[in-house]
Symmetry: C2
Subunit: 426 residues, 2 copies
């Protein structure tokens, strides 16, 4: 029965029951963390054979005859460029293979743009009184953190299952030359798990921004991270952009953080020839080379893009039951109550839920006091300000199935309790 | 016999002989590279056992119980902090363990200072009309590249065997609050191989800059890189700075690039608590964690600072004969001619030589045409401008002893030829 239809008396009884269940849970003294999209130990162990794959002097010589242990080859080894190029459907010359963090590649890209501009900039972004970024919401807190750090004004763009509101984006970028970029997670978006439709990608590729140095930050973090056999697919934005002469408008990012090791994977930046040239020149001042040993380790382990794709099936086998369990518990505990909506993603790392307006912070607080840490409510919005205080990002990957079940039971109780309290207070 | 004392006829004969030798060498079709301080294959192979030291799921758990494969622990694992703290004589809380490149840590430190300021800054450095750095010369080209990229004006400070000219430094920093930093390689300086005297370190530690946010960039790249048993030692600048309340004035950098792998080592930034706090906050926007797997790999391999020091003896055994050979050939070929001076370093990676004024570029050109690439003449000065066109950095580490002998023979011939030509033209 929907809580909206309950009488005050029914609501009070519902609240009291939830309150009792909550106190019982609290007594268990749980200590679980569902705050971040961290792979679990079983996932990390999948990559164990990669550890000692380079084990002799000659094993460090790559296909070009380069000893990867030494200095040089700033933009990465050819084999690694090829591997990522195949995965992402681009030319290897467009790939800069970086260190262990795509976040660093993104931060550095914004930092360079602020200080030096991007290819085609009339002046560095910091020379404008104001620089703005569009931010599809809910979105990834670390993206917003980067632009906030650089004093960039962030404008919320509503998300839908087909991607962000393209009408709004087209209008805004065409009118305002201080809008210099947009953060996108086009496949299995963080946190919604939405994949941009073909039309959305085409409209992105065809954007006509007033700013000649506008950049789409295309964070393809979950490009091979499927949870279902009938998985989503994403149109290749570079193919579309080429048709419109817009290749220079895109910075694409990806990494193996959630393929091999989150702390010790390999990240890439993909961009047009003009961009790669401009970036490489500045990169050469910051670095002599990224860790090519780790690049070669990854290439030798996976061999090719199909190797990566096949390998991701193993991650799916570990993760899918966790996601299924979350959906199952949400359905059983909260179905029909009209106090929570949730997405059922076919990939990625998150389940995005929306409480009644004004309840997300309270649910997160209750969970925390009950022993389960969620991503901070509000974190999925720029400036941590969720205007409706309703979105919560659930990260089912790290806990064991047993722990996850407990955490989700508690979560559902917290949603019931917070919702009932809210409705009673109205 | 000194060329300065030769008659024109004698000089002509000397030149002709050198010219003939040069042409003979050219005919050999050499292709050798002495341009960079790259470790040789034998040095890289020393670290082979490190490769598979992490080879089971449990081996990735560090002393704090952290699975180093996963996200988090931005400033590095405790064990790695301890190892570098012991090596550099500082508290582990002062150590930020980074990725594979100390150059990146330096560039990022300048970038952060420009965009956000450092601890104690009234405003970001980029908000000044002009920011200046002091640059002991000759120095490290990549340092100068970083500051040039950010539009920092660089002021040459003459080097001597005890370090840079401290009178000049003290005067300049006390008078000009736009002087925000100085690049130092205090031990086995690049390229001179000089180690700053105790007095120099004490005077650095006691500086009273007009700029409250002045920083000494203390690039301790060669802190354990000795070539002789009676090696140099460097006073601990943080100990001295503490006595003057100046701990916040120093950013120290080091790495294992020339201990394990140049492309896949571990770098550190060492700074006061105030600095570490300010840096960590911004670093957290740029990164979730550096490669902790590689950090643990290094710690497990070396065990402790003594392990590193013992290990460096193996490098010495490979490098010392190369340095000895260079000095030997210079002495035999050019001794008494008064056309080249050279340093005999007790550590580091370079032998710094000075030609007659106006001959360095020509020597480098002749060498290159003869088949041996040297570091570009001028590279050891800001803006690549050696005012006397005399300094050349020799890097003996990479070539084999045989190749090195050939390269040095050619080098000496080129010095003879260029010097004779110059004196004849006077």
């Amino acid at each position: 029965m929907s809580l909206q239809n309950m009488t005050k008396t029914e609501l009070s009884a519902f609240r009291d029951e939830a309150k009792k269940q909550y106190e019982d849970f609290k007594a268990l003294g749980l200590k679980l963390d569902m705050s971040r999209g961290k792979p679990c130990k079983e996932q990390l162990d999948l990559s164990l054979p990669m550890a000692d794959i380079l084990n002799s002097s000659s094993s460090y010589i790559d296909a070009d005859g380069i000893d990867v242990r030494n200095y040089g080859f700033l933009t990465g080894i050819s084999e690694a460029k090829q591997l990522f190029a195949d995965l992402l459907g681009v030319d290897p010359s467009m790939v800069i293979v970086g260190g262990n963090s795509s976040l660093t590649l993104m931060y550095d890209s914004v930092a360079r743009a602020m200080q030096f501009g991007v290819y085609g900039s009339e002046k560095p972004w910091c020379k404008y009184d104001k620089v703005k970024f569009l931010c599809p919401v809910p979105g990834y807190d670390r993206h917003f953190g980067v632009t906030e750090t650089f004093g960039v004004e962030m404008i919320n763009i509503p998300m839908s299952p087909t991607g962000p509101d393209m009408d709004m984006i087209e209008k805004l970028v065409s009118e305002d030359e201080t809008i210099k970029g947009i953060w996108c997670v086009p496949m299995y978006s963080n946190p919604d798990g939405y994949t941009y439709s073909d039309e959305t990608v085409k409209r992105f590729a065809a954007l006509k921004p007033a700013a000649k140095d506008f950049r789409i930050f295309w964070d393809n973090a979950y490009c091979v991270h499927h949870l279902k056999d009938d998985h989503d697919s994403l149109l290749n934005i570079f193919d579309e952009a080429k048709k419109c002469g817009n290749e220079d408008m895109i910075f694409e990012f990806a990494s193996t953080s959630k393929i091999t090791f989150p702390g010790a994977g390999v990240a890439v930046l993909v961009a047009s020839e003009n961009n790669v040239q401009q970036i490489t020149k500045l990169l050469g001042m910051q670095n002599i080379s990224y860790d090519k040993v780790n690049q070669l380790r990854h290439v030798r382990y996976f061999k090719n893009a199909d190797g990566v794709r096949a390998y991701m099936e193993k991650h799916k086998a570990i993760l899918a039951p966790k996601f299924d369990m979350v959906i199952d518990i949400l359905t059983k505990q909260l179905g029909g109550l009209d106090i929570l909506t949730w997405n059922v993603p076919k990939g990625g790392y998150f389940i995005s839920v929306n409480t009644l307006n004004g309840c997300a912070k309270e649910v997160a607080r209750l969970c925390k006091e009950g022993g389960v840490v969620l991503t901070g409510a509000g974190a999925t919005y720029p400036y941590k300000k969720d205007p409706d205080d309703k979105n919560i990002r659930l990260s089912p990957s790290y806990p064991s199935l047993d722990d996850l079940a407990k955490a989700m039971e508690l979560f559902c109780i917290c949603v019931k309790l917070a919702s009932a309290e809210k409705l009673l207070a109205e």
